[in-house]
């Protein structure tokens, strides 16, 4: 009778006790964030790591602020969640990703200005986050194949898949799930591959297509490996993919506290085009340079690291 009640009490007691121990341990470890530092986050792929380094080195060169790098976080929602909770202060995001993956906007918009204005307005209203000006390149999703394979099948645009549904696909997990990825693509173009696309890690996807493990991948347009592995990007002939212009997304509170920060970060605006970004990615992916080295070389070449102005 009261036996059951007693059991529940003991279990609850144990759980409460361990929660108290956890709180104690966390207090002792003391990981309160340092509010004088700017914390820069990024996702875990080459381009994001380079962009985070560009922003970090720019802030270090032009201000007295300290910068901490919390780069290499696992995916859009972890980065965005960390930004929303104030555990990072800024990270580079793509307009299309903001629109589709974060705001869950359903309507297809392909005009880049319109997408940028929309995410800027909505992020401010809903999350109090500021989209700074775009770097100037468009890292859109792109379906890619081995060049000689695509040429031998006569495939040059996405609607050519209507006649080639037998191909094996390997897409990133995000692409397989997101509305601006495979599910939306299937609806928009009206074809479906015979076998379901495999989930591949974004870093391993390019190697998989190169090694002929799969035929089609969901590449990122500015990835250095497209060039390095001789891949062909297929034309989005029915205009499905929204634009993915990259720009820093920053917590408004940080911009208010450091009045010059916004202008400094905006000095990179429209300074990096698709070719620049692909080349920097290529230098990391193919030549084995580190993201910080590539970022430093770019900033030096473009004159950002000269003495303070």
């Amino acid at each position: 009778m009261s036996n059951k009640l007693q059991s529940i009490l003991v279990l609850v007691g144990l759980i409460v006790a361990i929660i108290i121990v956890f709180l104690l341990v966390f207090t002792i470890r003391g990981e309160e964030r340092d509010h004088d530092k700017i914390i820069i986050g990024s996702k875990e792929f080459t381009e994001q790591l380079i962009l985070a380094e560009l922003l970090a080195q720019l802030i270090e060169a032009k201000t007295e602020l300290k910068v901490e790098r919390k780069t290499g976080l696992g995916g859009t929602l972890i980065c965005f969640g960390a930004l929303e909770k104030g555990e990072i202060d800024l990270y580079p995001e793509y307009t299309g990703t903001g629109l589709k993956a974060i705001l869950k906007h359903e309507e297809n918009i392909t005009d880049s200005e319109e997408v940028y204005e929309l995410v800027k307005k909505k992020f401010m209203a809903e999350y109090n986050l500021e989209w700074l000006k775009s770097f100037g390149f468009n890292n859109t999703y792109a379906l890619a194949m081995r060049k000689e394979h695509a040429d031998s099948l006569g495939i040059s645009k996405i609607s050519d898949f209507l006649a080639h549904s037998e191909l094996a696909c390997g897409f990133t997990a995000e692409f397989n799930e997101r509305d601006d990825g495979y599910p939306g693509l299937v609806r928009h173009y009206g074809f479906r591959f015979e076998s379901d696309p495999k989930d591949l890690d974004p870093g391993l996807m390019y190697k998989a297509v190169k090694e002929k493990e799969v035929d089609v991948i969901s590449a990122f347009a500015t990835d250095g490996r497209i060039q390095a592995y001789n891949l062909k990007v297929l034309d989005d002939d029915k205009k499905f993919f929204p634009p993915y212009y990259a720009a820093p997304v920053v917590r408004s509170a940080i911009l208010e506290k450091n009045s010059k920060l916004g202008d400094i970060l905006n000095s990179l605006a429209d300074h990096i085009d698709d070719v620049d970004m692909s080349r920097m990615n290529y230098e990391v992916d193919n030549d084995g340079k580190s993201p910080s080295q590539v970022a430093k070389e770019f900033l030096t070449r473009e004159g950002f690291l000269r003495k303070k102005d």
């Binding site: 121990v21 990981e31 875990e44 790591l49 290499g72 696992g74 890690d201 992916d285």
Partner: protein, 215 residues
């Protein structure tokens, strides 16, 4: 391999720091799990009516994919070491809980009877007879939990908790297999070393009388 050697020497400071982070995450989580799961295991071995549901819950936790659990933790605990420790704690529960429960259940009833006959209270029977006899199996559970946790802790790099996973995921992202090895080799070594150390601890803890038996 020579290139890897050079890479290792060049970044040994970073590797060392990451190994310490990794060790910190793992040991904190496992220590908490021992603190929680051993008493709980003892309790459910005596209260059979709740044992099935408690083991069931621990089993369900174990089946949640690691990255999903880490993503879920983000909502409450943000990023960094805190959510990582809580997730690793949850993953360590089942092996410790299950082994503690089984070990105590398997103690020969005749020995418990004898203890009672000598006038021991139920608490004395537990502390002087049942727990010492169960120690090898309980320790085996702790060792399993630790080795599993060292493996899972590599994923914590994805929520900014650092550790050796940093090199592995950075290596995958940057197409650099040297970096991947920089994370993999130390974490494998760490697992072997920790398991060895815990084996020694086990030898120290197990009462002398039991050891002679085994020869």
């Amino acid at each position: 391999m020579r290139e890897f050697g050079e890479l290792f020497l060049e970044r040994r400071g970073e590797v060392w720091a990451a190994t310490l982070e990794h060790l910190d995450l793992t040991l904190t989580a496992v220590a908490m799990a021992v603190l929680f799961a051993v008493p709980l295991g003892i309790y459910i071995s005596r209260e059979k009516n709740v044992s099935a549901s408690v083991l069931g819950i621990a089993g369900v936790i174990q089946t949640i994919p690691s990255l999903a659990l880490l993503g879920f933790m983000l909502t409450f605990l943000g990023i960094g070491a805190k959510p990582a420790i809580v997730a690793l704690f949850l993953y360590s529960l089942l092996p410790i809980l299950r082994n503690t429960f089984t070990a105590l259940n398997e103690v020969d009833p005749a020995l418990k009877e004898a203890a009672r006959g000598m006038g021991m209270s139920s608490m004395q029977t537990l502390v002087k007879v049942e727990i010492p006899l169960s120690l090898p199996v309980i320790m085996a559970g702790i060792r399993t939990a630790t080795v599993i946790t060292i493996g899972i802790a590599t994923l914590c790099a994805l929520i900014g908790a650092g550790g050796l996973g940093k090199f592995i995921f950075r290596g995958i992202a940057l197409n650099n297999s040297g970096l991947i090895l920089l994370g993999v080799i130390p974490s494998a070594a760490l697992a072997l070393i920790i398991d060895f150390v815990l084996g020694r601890v086990e030898k120290l803890l197990v009462p002398k009388g039991l050891k002679i038996d085994k020869q």
